[in-house]
Subunit: 242 residues, 2 copies
């Protein structure tokens, strides 16, 4: 099979020296890549500079959610993949604007005094052009960062290549299994995924990784280590490829 | 000599899966650590999980600016160091509060309608207790993060151990050398440092690293690679130790 795997966590720049980073060691993706490669499958691997890399695979490196969207669009338009395993933790938000608190408050106050609502004033502040700082000042007592949603990368995959199989991931933190599976099922439907690997951060560690494999009709498998997750995905992909 | 070296970049949690991270590969610190260790000096090394580590030294790992302050306070109260080389890029800001935009706007609007100023409303919003999210919702169109200043770690060092020599670092982005040296000199005076290594991000790369060594009477040396920076610091510390 020809596989596209994404892994690691994206970063969104605040300025030249600071970013908002999604934590993801990349270890699970590396285990998946190595496992599929050892079985003779062809793996295209997209990850980030700081992630753990799979042995024997030259990765494509990206940084932000926007980079990832561009990279996957390019790959999926040029090559046909039997499956996409999208394990990367993608930033939901990127930085729209940053303000020292005093500047932010003064701008809102000026508009409010002109009779505008806080909402109108806030929107105008976002709309006003402002160049991104090279390095934000460290003088202000508080800093206000306004973040905006990034494009949902997982939703692009089946639109760009409807024939591929898509395995997505859903990570929640300290929830009941029923909620985790419900949220994973919603993601599966919304993104036209074939399976979602549903996991909870409280059950993820280097040597342990509990996950449910959620399909259109509910949970079809369960795994307790990264190696077991790799074998679980291998089973469903090879089974359906027959 | 007995040296304390800090290196890498701290991270400040937004929630359990996202952080604001200061970029710093840790390569310069690793080069410094290895160089001083090879010369027979005793090195205590504080860094972060993701930083490049020096060979042959077991580091103490910290994550946030607050962790670092606690770690250095502990070390400087217990042990006497001939010098502290504080190369770590420490977060200036940590997350005070996060709000979905709608909630933030509605709270300000309610207070403004009661006759409060935007500033009073903003301060009240920050003062209101709110538990930190385990994972912030990805539903809001915009998210407002209010950041607050972290304690200035470099300022603690000479207060805790007045007899040590302190070498600090100042990184700016794309400025004239005169401005860089001026800002470094101000940092030297403010933090009672003996030297500041002043560098510009546009001149920092794995194989190249331009830096000025700024002392109380101005620039005393200049280096162009990480190895040269290590040798430059070694010269001034060994010279003065005589």
């Amino acid at each position: 099979m020809k596989l596209l795997i994404t892994a690691g966590g994206t970063s969104e720049k605040i300025d030249d020296v600071r970013s908002i980073t999604n934590h993801s060691s990349g270890r699970l993706g590396a285990a998946l890549g190595e496992n599929f490669r050892a079985l003779g499958h062809e793996v295209t691997y997209v990850t980030t500079k700081s992630a753990v890399k799979p042995q024997g695979i030259t990765p494509i490196l990206i940084e932000s959610a926007e980079d990832l969207a561009a990279c996957l669009t390019n790959l999926l338009q040029q090559e046909k993949f039997d499956a996409v395993i999208h394990a990367m933790a993608v930033s939901d938000f990127t930085v729209a604007k940053s303000f020292p608190d005093t500047e932010f408050i003064a701008a809102l106050q000026t508009n409010v005094e002109k009779g505008k609502t806080v909402e109108e004033s806030f929107k105008q502040l976002l709309a006003d052009s402002q160049s991104t700082a090279k390095k934000i000042s460290s003088q202000a007592e508080h800093l206000v960062l306004v973040l905006k949603q990034t494009p949902k990368v997982i939703g692009l995959i089946k639109k760009l290549q409807p024939t591929t199989r898509l395995i997505g991931f859903k990570l929640l933190v300290d929830v009941e299994p029923s909620e985790l599976i419900q949220v994973a099922t919603a993601s599966l439907k919304k993104n036209d995924a074939d399976y979602i690997v549903a996991n909870d951060l409280t059950e993820v560690a280097p040597q342990q990784h509990h996950a449910y494999l959620v399909g259109p009709r509910g949970v079809v498998a369960e795994a307790f280590t990264k190696k077991e997750i790799a074998e679980m995905l291998q089973r469903v992909l090879e089974e359906e490829a027959k």
